[in-house]
């Protein structure tokens, strides 16, 4: 589903990604861990072209992100084409980023109606279902700032799912939540994993990574240090850097 080969990305003189190699298969749940500044979020944002990569190759579902190959040239995609690609990838942010001027229902309905031009009636029906699935059927008419952080994040997940994405990206979805609200969001993500959704989850919840993840990737300094089965990596890390990181967070 996602294939990264030697992905490089710099912000000015700061090289954030220094050659990422990574493969995510359909239906796989990949958990990405690592200290802050290791490039996890940047990599995630490259996958749906919120950031442009400077080198290497990144493809989703066999198609290059942000470029079209023709012969030996790469053509940058037009805004409209990039949007089409993004519409197939759901993203959930650390700070929820719900649209505060719209009700919960409108948040969920916005993208299918505006981007995919789907009918309002059909979208509303699906939005009802999604909100029910994340346990917020009674909050449809509320505004985002009337909800708790956990509720907002669940709405954000429903909003991303409304586009029926083939890949979901989670950027530290529980880092901005009170500890007792973390569970309700993780439950939703866990349920998605059981349904076979392909997901990349940047997280600090090691318990979640162990239980739900198919693969665990530890990143540091813009490179993948270690990856493998979550239990194996968490129980018996091979690299010194992984060991010292895990000893601090576990």
């Amino acid at each position: 589903m996602v294939r990264a080969t030697q992905v490089h990305k710099s912000f000015g003189r700061l090289e954030v990604l220094r050659g990422i190699d990574l493969v995510v298969n359909p239906g796989e749940v990949l958990c990405l861990i690592g200290p802050s500044g290791s490039g996890k979020s940047t990599f995630l944002r490259c996958i749906n072209h919120l950031e442009k990569i400077d080198g290497g190759e990144l493809s989703v579902d066999g198609e290059l992100v942000g470029y079209r190959r023709s012969g030996d040239r790469l053509f940058e995609l037009k805004d409209r084409e990039v949007c089409g690609k993004r519409a197939e990838i759901g993203m959930v942010f650390q700070r929820f980023n719900l649209f505060p001027h719209m009700s919960v229902l409108d948040n969920v309905m916005s993208a299918p109606v505006w981007v995919k031009k789907e009918s309002v009636a059909a979208t509303r029906a699906r939005a009802h279902q999604l909100l029910e699935r994340v346990g917020l059927a009674d909050k449809e008419k509320s505004y985002p700032n009337q909800l708790s952080g956990g509720q907002q994040q669940r709405v954000a997940i429903a909003r991303a799912l409304a586009m029926q994405p083939k890949l979901m990206l989670f950027d530290e979805p529980t880092s901005a939540l009170d500890p007792e609200l973390v569970g309700e969001v993780l439950d939703v993500i866990r349920a998605l994993a059981l349904e076979g959704m392909t997901m990349i989850v940047v997280t600090h919840e090691m318990g979640f990574a162990r239980e739900v993840g198919d693969t665990l990737v530890f990143m540091d300094g813009g490179v993948v240090v270690e990856s493998g089965d979550p239990r194996a990596v968490l129980n018996a890390p091979q690299h010194e850097r992984t060991k010292s990181f895990l000893s601090k967070v576990l």
């Binding site: 919120l50 409209r80 980023n97 719900l98 001027h101 916005s110 008419k141 505004y143």
Partner: protein, 333 residues
Amino acid sequence: MRPSPGGGGGGGGRSNPKIVPVRHPGRWVASAAILVLAAMLINTLFFSHVTRGGVREGRYQWGVVGKYLFAAPIFRGIVVTLELTVIAMVVGIVLGIVLAVMRLSPNWLLSGSAWVYIWFFRGTPVLVQIIFWYEGISYLYPHLGFGIPFATPFVNVNANVLVTSFTAGALGLSFNEGAYMAEIVRAGIISVDEGQTEAAQSLGMAKFQTMRRIVLPQAMRVIIPPTGNETISMLKTTSLVYAIALADLFTAATNISNTNYEVVPLLLVASLWYLFFTSLLTIGQYYVERYYARGSTRALPPTPIQRLRQSFLHIRVKPAPAMADAPWLAPHE
């Protein structure tokens, strides 16, 4: 000693003590002074007389004011003033949005030209601009042509015909307002959290959609109060068209006083009308602000009218739900 309830004789002791509020003697003195000054003002406004040129007459001559308050030339002036205000604000707001988006563009030619526009139109007096449109255009470009650049134009127009005093006034006020609105809109746009743009883009929304559906509606909360300010200011700034002899409210009032020498009463006529319309705008602004506040406050406070109903009729008015049923979700684009 504890004060006892009901001021009765001692005995009890341990019941609720009476609370004596702190006194504010300063407030009483200030209030008395204000009341005296208000009485003096009302007296000179309505009840005092003065002798002018041997004739004893009411100080403010409200009779003369009343005679001209609804005069036909004044009404025609009001129409011109309102037309100018609406045109200048509508053009100014549209221009302001375009310029603000240009200034935020990564393309330096777009952002640079917007900067130059704002620099020029904000840097010269609006009065000069108005007179310039009226006098300068036909002086500099007596023939305006439309066609291919640097080739013989298809259509040729005499600038004197095209630029009447009304168009000159409208152009001068609009272009100047555009520069100010650009900065107001830009402030609004950059006040919206970047995460909003990212969230919209990650859902596949195009740049234009993101701006129109997500960023601008939220920017409105920041844009509306200064825009209301600008509108109120514009209503009065239109009086500068006096300089190009366009018969707006102020010019109409002055034209009358030029013939009957009742300068002060006619200034009062104009002022009363300006006050009337700025009051209307103030009320309008309140409701527009309220509309765009949805989502940012948990429950909107009751409007003054709802508050009045509450206190007079003792009807419990529920705090307005912070939403109307989403007309903006209609799938047009």
